[in-house]
Amino acid sequence: MVLTVAVDVQGADKARPYTEKANATFTTVVDEANALGQLYGYKAIPNLFLIEADGTVSFKELGTFNVLEPAKRAIVDQWAATGATSEKGNTEDLDGSHAQANAHFLFGQQLFKRGMTQDALTEWRKGVALEPDNYNIRKQIWAIENPDRFYDGKVDYDWQDEQLAKGL
């Protein structure tokens, strides 16, 4: 079974065009609060977890699982067909700042839902200050402030690299 999780505080309306374009036959759920970033322990996406029938994780790749790359899709296909993958996957080091960074993110998400966008951005920036390589939070800030650089199937990655170079 394939279960996909779309991460975006702006919810289902932002995610739906992508799955419709892909003619998705799998289930997609929306994680507006970045709940899995806390529960599973990650600070960047896209990610893949392969989970066996007994609920045990047999593979994980964090931050780099771009499903548009055939080599990445082959990991899932091989696992589905043979029960295993020859890939090694990866992991991330997280320290105590992760929980606090996510707490700022969550607080900001509640403000955002109440229409307090500037206050939400302030909270999210506090989260990034605590955990600078938390791209879930960093990119959410960008996506709110610069919607023209995101969505509609055209994400401007060159622009993102420019923001990083500027220390944003």
Binding site: T4, A6, V29, F49, T56, W79, K139
Partner: protein, 45 residues
């Protein structure tokens, strides 16, 4: 004092969660017990 950090590694049980699907259903990982699941986490940014 640093707060504990939850990290799911290979060999760990996948923590259960419930999130709303694009078609408006509450979906839990535990709905898939007994099945192998490829959990793909992505964003539109």
């Amino acid at each position: 004092m640093a707060k504990p950090v939850n990290v799911v590694n290979v060999g760990d049980k996948a923590p259960d969660f419930t999130l709303r699907s694009l078609d408006g259903r509450d979906v839990s990982l535990s709905d898939y017990i007994g099945k192998r699941v490829a959990l793909f986490i992505w964003a539109s940014w």
